[in-house]
Structure formats: C-alpha cells, structure tokens
C-alpha cells in the first residue's frame, strides 16, 4: 500500500470544520482525528481513514460549491427567469459512472488492509480474552497464567465524592501485559452477553460473543500503556469495564510472565493453606472485601435493583440452606446476569463472601462457611 501522507491536510480540514479550536496536541482533550496508532494495522487504518475522508471532503466541496453558487447567483431577487431544462441523460450517466470509479479506487486499498487484518497466522503469543459482566479475563494459553481485570477507579470518584484521577474510568487492577514487536493473537469470547474488546491505538476491535471464539491480531511497536473500553452494550455497567494493555519489551515481558507464574503458585499455596478453620470475624472481614464483585448488581447495601437484580438483604437464598447459596454463587444462574464465580474466586474467597452475605444487610443466618465446604462442592 502506498503511504498516503494526507493526515496533515485532513487534520487541517477537520479543524476548519470545527469551531476554530485552539492548537491541537495529538490525542489531547480536543482531539479531532483517530489517535496516533502504535501498530501496523492501526497505521493502515488511519491512512485509509484519512484518504477516504479527504476524497469525501473534495467531492463535498465541489458539489456544494455548485449549490452555494446557485443559491448566490440564481436567486429570484436578482430579477431572473427560471430556466426550463429538466433532464439530461448525458449528465445522469456521467454522475453515475464517475462516483463508481471513485468507489473502486477506495475499495482497492480497503480490501488490501482488510486481508491483512484478518490474517492471524504465524503468531508469537496467543491470549484468550473473555468478557464478563463487567470485567475481562485474560488467559495466556501456553503459559498457564490467567487473571481477571476490572475497573480500578474508586466508586467515590464516579459519584463525585473525590476528585477524578487522570485515568478516570480507564484504569484497571490487573492490566493485560504483552511483549512489543511480537505478533499477538487474541482469541475473544464472552461468558454471558456480547461485549467487544477494543484498544483504539491498536486499531483492534472484535466482538466477544458467548459460544464464539473470534480472532484478532496486533503487533505493538512502542512500549507503553494503552487504554480502551468495552464497545458493545452489555448491560448496566457497560461504561465501566475498561481495557488496559501494558506493552513491555520482550525481555521485560518474559520476566513479568515468570513472576506471574510464581504468583499464581503462591495463590495456589494460599488456597491449600485455607484448610485451616476460619473464625467468623475473619470471614466477615474478608467477605466484605470480596463483596465488591457482587456490589455491581446487588448494590453496596445488598438491596439490588428490584425487577432487574434481586436483593441479597432478606432474600430466600441468603437466609435459606447454605448449600443452595453456595451452588448459586459457584455455578451462577443461566439466562441471567448471575455468573458462576467458582472459576474467578478461590475457596476462601467464596466461603468468606457467602458468610458475609448471610450475616450482613440485616441477614442473620448465623452460620459460617469454611473453605473446605467450598472445595467439597467443586
């Protein structure tokens, strides 16, 4: 593909069209065009976008040049008589054929880019991405590393009790980490409803659909932190499941991966150590932390949202037999937003959060759940 250097012209045109915006640093608040890409595909898309927009602008100016000239020169108030012509086969043929040829000119580079985008072969690293309501899971398929990634912006910032941070709504607890200059293949799917994984600077977006595994690839050239968001309406907290990707040099990435593997075995050790008997206060304290997973739907106060998300306070489940409660939390409820947490939470976390739900918000089941009980249900 020939490198079209039209970005400057297009940026100028956009600025002209906008309300005389002051100097525009790339990707700042007044950004007018696609953000500066950091992947080959992102760059191809940007060039294509600039080219198509430039062609559209030229046609637009020509066509409406005629119209505005007519509005100026052919007014009745100038005392003129209207002409009477009403058709011209020649003109109709000309303005059918010329746009058709222009379209072919647009289709050729578009096709080339598209073929390139869809070629996920010969990748260096494969990561499975799973969308959940409302978080992402990343699994490094050949390396036995897997973790969840959810919004890290505190609730207080969202409701205005604290000033908003620099990366408000675009920050997560565990970012996806990838090596630079490697072809990364992402396998994208979802667990509940449709989500879409999107990082604008990569030019990479794909729907995450339950029952489907979609593929996309990217190759990031510049180390750095890149941010995106879920791009398919997925329910209440669709606006609150960002994507953060850290691109590290291959050496740093390998070191990170090794550390991460150790980390997951540490977690494993923690889980086995959980064979000890936990006291109610220990469980309640831990459960309150883990409850953040539940609060998105069931509310911080456990009252839910009547009709959409059931309350935990006073619910039959949280006050009934403990086995039913555990099964619901671990396996979820098909056809609803209630997902199964046994893959996401450890035995102690499930034990703690169920204990918390049964003894908070005015619930007084009075019983505690031990990690061993959870393990026996796995």
């Amino acid at each position: 593909m020939s490198p079209f250097r039209v970005s400057t012209a297009v940026a100028l045109a956009w600025s002209g069209a906008a309300l005389s915006v002051a100097p525009v640093p790339a990707n700042a608040a007044w950004g007018l065009n696609l953000p500066t890409p950091v992947s080959p595909i992102g760059r191809e898309i940007l060039e294509l976008h600039n080219l198509i927009m430039l062609i559209c602008l030229i046609i637009f100016i020509v066509v409406f040049g005629f119209m505005f000239y007519s509005i100026y020169a052919h007014r009745k108030s100038t005392g003129r008589e209207a002409a009477t012509f009403a058709h011209s086969t020649k003109a109709e043929v000309v303005w059918t054929v010329i746009p058709f040829i222009i379209l072919i000119g647009m289709a050729i580079p578009s096709t080339a880019t598209l073929i390139n985008m869809e070629d996920t072969s010969k990748s260096d690293l494969t990561i499975k991405v799973t969308g959940y309501q409302w978080k992402w899971q990343y699994e490094y398929l050949d390396h036995d590393v897997s973790f969840y990634s959810s919004l890290a912006t505190p609730r207080e910032q969202i409701v205005g009790l604290q000033p908003k941070g620099e990366h408000y709504l675009l920050e997560v607890d565990n970012p996806l980490v990838i090596p630079t200059n490697r072809k990364i293949r992402l396998l994208v799917t979802a667990n509940d409803v449709i989500h879409a994984w999107w990082v604008p600077k990569f030019g990479a977006k794909k729907d995450a659909i339950p029952g489907y595994i979609n593929e996309l690839w990217t190759k990031v050239e510049t180390p750095g932190t890149y941010r995106g968001q879920c791009a398919e309406l997925c329910g209440k907290d669709h606006g609150f499941m960002p994507i953060v990707v850290e691109a590290k040099s291959p050496e740093e990435f390998d070191a990170w991966l090794a550390g991460r593997k150790q980390g997951s075995s540490l977690e494993h050790a923690a889980a086995t150590a959980a064979a000890k008997q936990w006291s109610e206060s220990e469980l309640m304290a831990r459960g309150e932390e883990v409850y953040a997973h539940c609060a998105a739907c069931h509310g911080v106060d456990g009252k839910g949202l009547p009709g959409a998300f059931p309350a935990i306070a006073g619910s039959a489940v949280a006050t009934g037999p403990v086995e039913d409660h555990l099964t619901l939390v671990m396996d979820g409820k098909p056809g609803t937003a209630m997902q199964g947490f046994k893959g996401q939470l450890s035995d102690i976390e499930i034990a703690a959060v169920v204990t918390y739900q049964r003894n908070a918000f005015g619930n007084k089941a009075g019983d505690t759940v031990q990690p061993s009980q959870v393990q026996s249900l796995r």
Binding site: E44, A83, F240, A308
Partner: protein
C-alpha cells in the same frame, strides 16, 4: 345541478363530532392529522428522553440518573423516534397527500386506515408503561441484541408486544398505500406521471411489507427464548447470538430507507417549487429510489462487521454497501441541478429542503466511511456512528418532515404560517443540531464508545458542547409547536396554489382542502 348534488350528498354524512369524530373517522385527512399529531407528540417525548441522556453526559461522573435507567433512556429514545415519530410522521404525510396527489377521493381501504392508526396509541402506551414496571423498561438498546435482552424484566416482554402491534400498524398502512396507488389514480395519471413523493412512498410501502414481519419474527424468537424454553439465541442450547443480529439487520437496514425515502420524496416536491423549475432527472430519481431499495436488502451485515464474519463476507458487504453511494449521489446531483439556473426563493420549506440536502450528505459521506470495513472496526459502536445516524435521521428524515409541514400547512389549514417565526425555528434547529452532533464525530474518533453513561476526562469538552446544543435543539422545537398551533388557529388566508406556480394536483383544490376532494376524478393533461 352540481351544487344540488353536493348538498344532497352532504346530508347523508352524519359526522360524529368531538372525540368520536377522531375515533371513528375513515377520512384520509382526519387520519393524516391524527398520525401527524401523534408523531409530533412522540417526537417531543423522545426528545425529552434525549435531554435526560445529554444532561447525564454534560459532565463526567454520574449526576442525574443511574446507569440502568440511562440504558432505558437510550433504548426508549430510539424506539420512540424510530417507531413513534419518524414512521408515523411519514404515514401522516402519505395519508394527507397521496390521495390529493394522484386525484383520488380517499385511501382505498378507509376502515383499515382508521384501525392502522388506532393501534399505535395502545402500542406506545404499553411500551411507555414498561418504564414503570419492576426492573424498568427495555435497556438493551433499540437493537434488542440477544442475549442481553434475555436478561431484562417484564418491560422487555411489553416492548416485544408493542413492537408486534407497531408492525401490524405499519403493514396495514403499507398495504393501504400500495392498493391506493395502484387502483385509485385519476385517469391519465400514469405511474411515470406520479409526483416523486408518491413514488418514494410506493417503494417504501413494499419495503415495509417485506421487513416488518422479519422484525416480528426476531422479537417472537426472543419472547420464546425468554419464556418457553427455546434456545434460538442461546449457545448453551445450540443457539446463536449472532443469528439475532443477522435477522434484526435484515429488517434494520431496509428500515433505514423506510425512514429516508419518503423524506427524499418531500424534498423532491419542495425544491422544484421554490426553484420555479421542474424536478431535474425525474426518471433517474425514480430509478435511483428503486435501486436504493433493492440494495437495502443486500447490505445488512455492514452493521455487524465486528462480529467475526469470514473475509469473503466482509468484502461482499463492504462492496455492496459502497454501491449505495451511487444512486444516493444521483439524487443529490439531481437536486442541485434542479436548483441550477432556477429563480430561487428561500421560504421556510425551501430553507429546510436545502439544509436537508446539505446535512444529509454529511451523513451520507460518514456512511460511506463506515462502509469501509477496516476503518469501520475503529468507528463501530462509537459516537462517530451516533453522529452519522443523527445526520441522516434528524437532518434527513425529521427536518424533511418539518420542511414538508411548512410546505403543506397552508393547504391543510387554509392559513399561512408565520414566516418570520418559521425562519427563526429553522435557524435555531439547524444551528443547534450541528452544535449537538458535529462534535460527536470527534468524540467517536477519539475513542468514546456509544451507550455509556459516564466517560473518561478526555471526552469532556465536546460532550459539554454537545449537551448545550441538545438543550437548544430541544427547546427550539417548542417554537415549532407554537407556529403550528398559531397557523391552525388563524393567519392570513392562503390562496389555492399557496406558492408561486407549484406543480401537483393538491394545489388545484381550495385551501384549506375540503373534507372530500376529487370525488370526481380530475383531468390529467
């Protein structure tokens, strides 16, 4: 003799008065008025919901509504505007104008006409009351994508039944229009002599009959998935969530043209009148309309390039979508050529018509950009798309209807509307429309997804501008209502032709148009 006939005739009409007149009416003009009033009220209500959305988006953070209610507002705003404002609005124009334009005394099936209107208030009462049920109204977007729609409460079921009713209403209306055009034309009114508004509606009516049952099928499958154990869209039961999107957009894309072709028709009536020249390229306009309608059936998957289609599928839908630019371009070129070397004046209808051509073309170009599949991966589900479809639906469909209303109001009421206020309404609408929606192009390109109640700080500035524009745009429409009411109540007497030598049979009857017109077919030269 003729006078005696008329007197005799009218004695036998026992028109009920008051409310019963409107409930029992089979008169195309009355039913047209009902449709137009209904459309205007849904337009205002849907606009109010848009203002809730824009109020929440005025600043980052959650201030006005919670995210679940925000999703209900985006969903309900779209359903009201698409099914409540635009579609019934155009049916209102069709009812009023088609019989007068083809020299027919009324619509072919007057009782069905009454029924097709009166389904609507019940459908929308059900749809709107879903907001008050436990769990609220539909919150999965107007596209109702499965599996998200499966999660909703009883409000979703009410929405499904409401859509069934709206679909029945549309199909009945479409049948009536087709039968009227094919059977009720005055002698000599051959198909290729029909005004372009009649042609665009004829083609639109076929689109409606073709795709409304498809939508009904899609929402029925949702209903059975929700309640009767089927798994059409549930992968756990062997179903396919993407199939919903294919079915929905097989309806949805022709639906886009259902909402714009009659607007093209209205524009094609207004521009020649105020250019004092016949429409340029009439035959080409008819053919372009038919070509757009045909293409609308083979482009649907461009709404879903990101679902992971095979490369060949993506290429097919990219090429077919790009083709639509050709007949659409033909239309724009013909409108400009109609104006070329005319004797132009700019009364309110003409202002709206020129603005529609200009602004709709912006939406057309962003549509062409969206058709370019690789670039669409960046635009998809961002505010760029929101900007695009408001440029075609607001400054295309809705503003064409406003222009049409000003154009024919004198014929309907017998009074001239207030030209000065009309022009003020035009400028307020056009300016605030652009203030609202032009910055949304930038927001989308910068990476702001659509349908989010809160956003990152880098999107703040353009959202502030957009929200300010939205409130201006909303309040400007109250002026529109005032101008209409003022015109209905009085004003300077309109002549029969209203404008300087307009073309079309509707200008040969008195203003206001009598309750019954063309009981004897007119002679067509």
């Amino acid at each position: 003799m003729a006078t005696a006939d008329v007197a005799h005739h009218e004695e036998h009409h026992h028109h009920p008065s008051g409310v019963m007149r409107w409930i029992t009416t089979t008169n195309h003009k009355d039913i047209g008025t009902l449709y137009l009033c209904f459309s205007l009220s849904m337009f205002l209500l849907g606009g109010l919901m848009a203002l809730v959305i824009r109020a929440e988006l005025f600043q980052p953070g959650l201030q006005v509504v919670d995210p679940h209610f925000f999703n209900q507002m985006t969903t309900m705003h779209a359903l009201l505007m698409v099914f409540g404002a635009i579609m019934p609005g155009f049916v209102g124009f069709a009812n009023w104008m088609l019989p007068m334009m083809i020299g027919a005394p009324d619509m072919a099936l007057p009782r069905m006409n009454n029924w097709s209107f009166w389904i609507l208030p019940f459908a929308f009462t059900m749809l709107l009351s879903s907001l008050f049920t436990a769990g609220g109204g539909p919150a999965a977007g107007w596209t109702l994508y499965a599996p998200l729609t499966i999660q909703g409460g009883m409000g979703v079921d009410m929405t499904i039944f409401a859509i069934h009713m709206m679909g029945i209403s549309s199909i009945l209306g479409a049948i009536n229009i087709i039968v009227t055009i094919f059977n009720m034309r005055a002698p000599g009114m051959t198909l290729m002599k029909m005004p372009l508004f009649v042609w665009t509606w004829l083609i639109t009516a076929f689109l409606l009959i073709a795709v409304m049952p498809v939508l009904a099928g899609a929402v029925t499958m949702l209903l059975t998935d929700r309640h009767f154990g089927t798994a059409f869209f549930d992968p756990a039961g062997g179903g396919d969530p993407v199939m919903f999107q294919h079915i929905f957009w097989f309806f949805g894309h022709p639906e886009v043209y259902i909402m714009i072709l009659p607007a093209f028709g209205i524009i094609s009536e207004i521009i020649p009148t105020f250019s004092r020249k016949p429409l340029f390229g009439y035959t080409a306009m008819v053919l372009a309309t038919a070509a757009i309608a045909f293409l609308s059936f083979i482009v649907w998957a461009h709404h879903m390039f990101t679902v992971g289609m095979p490369l060949t599928g993506e290429l097919f839908f990219m090429y077919s979508t790009m083709l639509i630019a050709v007949p659409t371009g033909v239309k724009v070129f013909n409108w400009v050529s109609t104006m070329w070397r005319g004797a132009l004046t700019f009364e309110t209808p003409m202002l709206f018509a020129v603005a529609v051509v200009f602004l709709f073309t912006i939406g057309g170009f962003s549509g062409l950009m969206l058709a370019i599949t690789p670039a669409d991966f960046q635009y998809h589900d961002t505010y760029f798309v929101v900007a695009h479809f408001h440029y075609v639906l607001f400054s295309g469909a809705a503003m064409a209807m406003m222009g049409g209303a000003y154009y024919w109001l004198p014929k309907w009421t017998g009074h001239m509307y207030d030209e000065k206020l009309g022009k003020i309404h035009f400028w307020l609408t056009t300016i605030f429309f652009n203030v609202t929606f032009f910055p949304q192009h930038f927001l989308g390109l910068a990476g702001m997804p659509r349908r989010i109640p809160d956003y990152a700080l880098q999107f703040t500035e353009f959202n502030v501008i957009s929200s300010i524009g939205a409130f201006g745009l909303g309040f400007a429409q109250l002026l529109f209502v005032y101008v209409i009411v003022k015109c209905v109540r009085g004003g300077s007497k309109a002549t029969d032709t209203v404008w300087e030598a307009p073309r079309g049979l509707e200008w040969t009857v008195p203003s206001p148009a009598p309750y019954h017109t063309f009981e004897t077919p007119p002679k067509i030269a």
